[in-house]
Amino acid sequence: MSWFQKLLPPKIKRRENIDAKKNVPEGLWHKCPSCQAVLYHSDLEKNLSVCPKCNHHHRITARTRLDWLLDAEGRFEIGAEVLPVDTLKFKDSRKYSERLTSAQRDTGEEDALVVMQGSVHALPLVAAAFEFSFMGGSMGSVVGERFVRGVHLAVEQNMPFVCFAASGGARMQEGLLSLMQMAKTCAALTQLSQAQLPFISVLTDPTMGGVSASFAFMGDVVIAEPGALIGFAGARVIQQTVRETLPEGFQRAEFLLEHGAVDMIVDRREMRDQLATLITLLTKQPAVAKEAA
């Protein structure tokens, strides 16, 4: 601060600060948390939020995910009519109902899963995506019910089902009801199987706990995004239990591939093409025309 600014009365000082902020529009620049490269926000977005320098896959919202995945035409949402309730009247340092309201305000979503019917390269499918910024993408009754409605529609319409997981696990604030969503989602998938319809599970950063330990690994094909954290127990809990340093890259997508837990790691920019190829192969359809690289 210069000597001149120090002399100014506080009112004028504040005004100057506001003006200074206005000159730099918010969110123009973005610093990659992985390689520290400073990137243009628009460049990053054009690259599907993958860092052009180091390939770091940034977390994206559920709607952005589905928007980038699905063909522009013929999409509609499934299960938006299902909304959360606070059955247990759960209260920790804050009430669950308050947490819900603020999550809804902050994310613009009603709960942590968005499901849509649409198509990829003109192949019809039902796709679900977790909203991680909604209470850590935690799975409660609404997530379970929307997932199941998506699966049922896929069975009815004879379409594959694709799910992009991004979740810390079960939603504690719904107690045992949330644990039961693990059983519910898995049970729904048996119907998809009986109808010989593919379920492709994509594990994105992060996929942990009750979501990881239910439908996530039940995909006919299990895909992970590069660098995604995937596991059952959190690293901190494991460290407290075993009291030893965890191996390099523990619970990362590459670690899981090496240990035979996932089929492949797919770059977000190739996801549409890969899904289309897998679906056509599984359903014995001819190859589809893809976008020019």
């Binding site: 009519e81 247990l88 504690m172």
Partner: protein, 321 residues
């Protein structure tokens, strides 16, 4: 066996101590003090009844983890005959935290599977405190498939703090092992009867707890996360475990109201560990009844009911969009 008393039972412990001393004195005393002993025993019972009539969820959680509580192998010993334990997942190891095998229940073939904790330090370590690794869940899955092949009903006993959080467990696919069980149990073509006998610890419990009937002992608990774990995440302090236990709704009565448990099996006064014979009798009766009930349905009916029941889990509201 000398009963271990919990913190909130200290007044009972003192009385029982006094009774013990009087008994010792009586042996070499000319005066008959049996009347006094009888009076104290009545008092001790009344006191226990009082305490147990108003247990808090956190206290129930202590009872569910009582070191003398009957474990899966105790139920197997008392309620089943011809138990033939089967070992291993055929891929990696035999996990001692889950036991299972063929047995007879009232003469009928059944497959019994359950978590197993240990009694002393050595056995606790051997059983890994009842915390299974993927091998345990895969062994359970193998035994369930075996039961399905021969049309044998399955009874599972749930009693675990949770699935083991270890490096090896993660490397060998703890998540996949649990998820796979949930998936297969949803469509397994034999009756599955699940009983929570102690601690129902999250996904590690659920992995052998999907079925046609859900029984729960009076002082057992079943929760998405341990009260301590919940407290340390949401309150940032494990000291708030009692509050967490309260709000999580982990007790049999609360879960029955929520429709997640079908039947509560009553425990003897002071908990299952205070009277094994009475506990076994109550359990036998409960299992008998529910087995008869699930076996009265055809397999297709059974699967239909099981599926609808799974789909009905959850509470939400619906609006017009």
């Amino acid at each position: 066996m000398k009963v271990t008393f919990l913190d909130f039972e200290q007044s009972v412990a003192e009385l029982e101590n006094k009774i013990e001393q009087l008994r010792y004195v009586q042996d070499d005393s000319a005066v008959d003090i049996s009347e006094e002993i009888g009076r104290l025993q009545k008092k001790s019972q009344a006191l226990t009844k009082d305490i147990y009539a108003k247990l808090t969820p956190w206290q129930i959680s202590q009872v569910s983890r009582h070191p003398q509580r009957p474990y899966t192998l105790d139920y197997i010993e008392h309620l089943f005959t011809d138990f033939e334990e089967l070992h291993g997942d055929r891929a990696y190891a035999d996990d001692a935290a889950i036991v299972g095998g063929l047995a007879r229940f009232n003469g009928q073939s059944v497959m019994v599977i359950g978590h197993q904790k240990g009694r002393d330090t050595k056995e606790r370590q051997y059983r890994n405190f009842g915390m299974p690794r993927p091998e345990g869940y895969r062994k359970a899955l193998r035994l369930m498939k075996l039961a399905e092949k021969f049309g044998i009903p399955i009874m599972t006993f749930i009693d675990t703090p949770g699935a083991y959080p270890g490096v090896g467990a993660e490397e060998r696919g703890q998540s996949e092992a649990i998820g796979h069980n949930l998936y297969v149990m949803a469509e397994l073509r034999v009756p599955i009867i699940c009983t929570i006998i102690g601690e129902g610890g999250s996904g590690g419990a659920l992995a052998i707890a999907v079925g046609d009937a859900m029984l729960m002992l009076q002082y057992a608990t079943y929760s998405v996360i341990s009260p301590e774990g919940c407290a340390s995440i949401l309150w940032k302090s494990a000291d708030k475990a009692a509050d967490a236990a309260e709000t999580l709704g982990i007790t049999a009565t609360r879960l029955k109201t929520l429709g997640l448990v079908d039947k509560i099996v009553s425990e003897p006064l002071g908990g299952a560990h205070r009277d094994y014979p009475a506990m076994m009798q109550a359990m036998k009766k409960a299992l008998q009844d529910v087995l008869k009930q699930v076996q009265s349905q055809s397999v297709d009916e059974l699967l239909h009911t099981r599926f609808n029941r799974l789909m009905a889990y959850g509470k939400f509201k619906e609006v017009e969009v």
